[in-house]
């Protein structure tokens, strides 16, 4: 019985690259996000990676490079320029899996160079890039299309690609669930007071409206429990077709609120980008054909 089931799943996974369209879109989108981060951080590059940095390095892999940290910091631009080139190659799908591997390695090194500036979005972006190394995200949005692939090779690629896409989806569910689990174990969240404190933090005072919103107890309590419920239920309910779309819309609103009211920007974009994997290829193709016609 079990071998038959395994065989069934193997055949199903080999049959088709079920997320081919969105994986391609995700490759382009996450690369564009990385490029945006480089552009927005450009004036602060020296603080993040250069010699003028006032933070002492933590014990990371960079410290073990020849010449040590000071060498890497002195010549960090020699790293940033190829990094931009690799992002561009990844957008165009040139070099395919090799470029994806190189991009992941470069992001990993950059994140190690300044670990004080990392948040959950950076962490998720790094994991997405890792899973994308195994995904066949080169069926759309590439400069050069691959003309012929051996059918047996294609089957194997489909299987690996589907597992990679599934891993990204699982990673998103896991991050929500763990975050929700942490919240229900915290007395402040449990008592319904946490969003009040989050919205009152000077560091995260995204709009002047925050001060007025926190004056309404019912908004604080409602939003607090809504966040917990969303984070705990999303990982289970998102797999149910009927509930999926409203849940994704709720997630979109949730991240949009954090974006606006708490001024946490890049983080939200990365999370929202993964949502597309929960929609089938056909839906994405329909959306794009409509957009194209417009």
């Amino acid at each position: 019985m079990i071998p038959q089931k395994i065989k069934y799943y193997k055949n199903w996974l080999q049959q088709e690259n079920y997320k081919s369209f969105y994986l391609s879109l995700l490759r382009v989108a996450i690369s564009l996000w990385l490029l945006k981060e480089v552009c927005f951080n450009w004036s602060s590059m020296d603080i993040l990676y250069g010699e003028s940095v006032y933070v002492m390095p933590k014990n990371t892999i960079i410290n073990r490079l020849p010449g040590g940290v000071s060498f890497v910091r002195e010549y960090f631009m020699w790293f940033i320029i190829p990094y931009i080139a690799i992002i561009l190659l990844n957008i165009l799908g040139i070099g395919r899996w090799f470029t994806a591997l190189l991009l992941f390695s470069m992001v990993y090194v950059l994140q190690q160079m300044n670990m004080y500036f990392l948040n959950g979005g950076d962490k998720l972006a790094k994991l997405i890039l890792l899973y994308l190394i195994f995904a066949n995200s080169y069926e759309y949005f590439v400069l050069f299309k691959q003309k012929y692939i051996d059918p047996e090779k294609k089957k194997f690629l489909n299987l690996v690609s589907n597992l990679a896409a599934f891993s990204i989806m699982l990673q998103l569910c896991l991050s929500y669930f763990l975050s929700g689990l942490g919240k229900i174990n915290n007395p402040v969240w449990w008592q319904g007071e946490a969003t009040y404190y989050a919205l009152s933090m000077e560091r995260f005072l995204g709009t002047p409206l925050n001060k007025y919103i926190v004056e309404y107890k019912w908004i604080n309590i409602l939003s607090n429990y809504a966040v917990i419920a969303f984070e705990l239920l999303f990982p289970f309910l998102v797999w149910i077709k009927k509930i999926r779309k409203p849940l994704l819309v709720a997630g979109l609103l949730f991240h949009l609120c954090i974006y606006v009211f708490l001024m946490i920007y890049g983080f939200q974009i990365v999370f929202i980008l993964t949502y597309g994997l929960f929609l089938p290829n056909t839906t994405w193709k329909k959306i794009f054909s409509r957009v194209y016609r417009m």
Partner: protein, 217 residues
């Protein structure tokens, strides 16, 4: 590629996928044997996949303040005081949404402030508002002395000193031949129960301070 190899590789792929996700499950569960083995033998793997996802947990109930007090040895009664964290927060608010530079500075400085506080106060009770000041001072001095040789603590302290030098220069405070002292205070956010109470007074509690020293020490 032959059918046989394609099948074999597919089964291997599925096996690797299952093993990978089982290992992740062990990593996120509370302490267990496979987790300990992975943490010892593959710390980088553990860091990459087993890290916690705790967004605003626990939420901050304080707005932190970092004061830099600059004293002239010739006129010690008139020190210059500069507050750093609120300034950064205000700049971040003013420039939103195009506040990437301010966000970077905010993360760098605040992560070091949290690092210092974590090093000192993890497993210890922070000074409370209602504690008598003299008791606070002794209690805090002991707690700081306990981590005085801790590498992580010293790293965070150096980072803050470096930033303070930059902040003092930016604010045109002359530091040549002067001594400085850093103080971290927690300004309690009005408690949830006090919503609507306009008379609630936000007090600042001292949670860390350095001794007064020349800036280069």
């Amino acid at each position: 590629m032959k059918h046989y190899y394609s099948n074999l590789l597919s089964y291997i792929g599925m096996g690797v996928f299952c093993c990978f996700w089982v290992s992740i499950i062990f990593l996120i569960l509370p302490s267990n044997y496979p987790k300990e083995v992975l943490a010892t033998n593959a710390p980088r793997y553990t860091n990459m996949f087993g890290g916690s996802w705790k967004f605003f947990t626990p939420p901050y109930t304080y707005n932190m303040r970092l004061y830099v007090i600059v004293k002239d040895t010739n006129a010690p009664a008139k020190p210059d005081t500069l507050e750093v964290l609120k300034q950064i927060a205000l700049q971040k608010q003013q420039n939103a949404p195009l506040n990437q530079h301010e966000t970077i500075v905010d993360y760098l400085v605040n992560n070091n402030v949290s690092g210092i506080l974590n090093a000192i106060w993890t497993n210890k009770k922070m000074p409370a508002e209602d504690m008598p000041e003299t008791l606070d001072a002794v209690y805090m001095a002991r707690a700081i002395a306990a981590v005085d040789t801790n590498h992580t603590y010293l790293l965070h302290l150096d980072n803050l000193k470096n930033y303070c030098k930059i902040a003092l220069t930016e604010n045109k405070i002359d530091i040549s031949g002067k001594e400085i002292k850093m103080q971290i205070k927690g300004r309690k956010i009005r408690p949830f129960k006090e919503i609507g109470n306009p008379r609630f007074l936000q007090k600042e509690t001292l949670v860390f301070e350095t001794t007064i020293k020349p800036l280069n020490l």
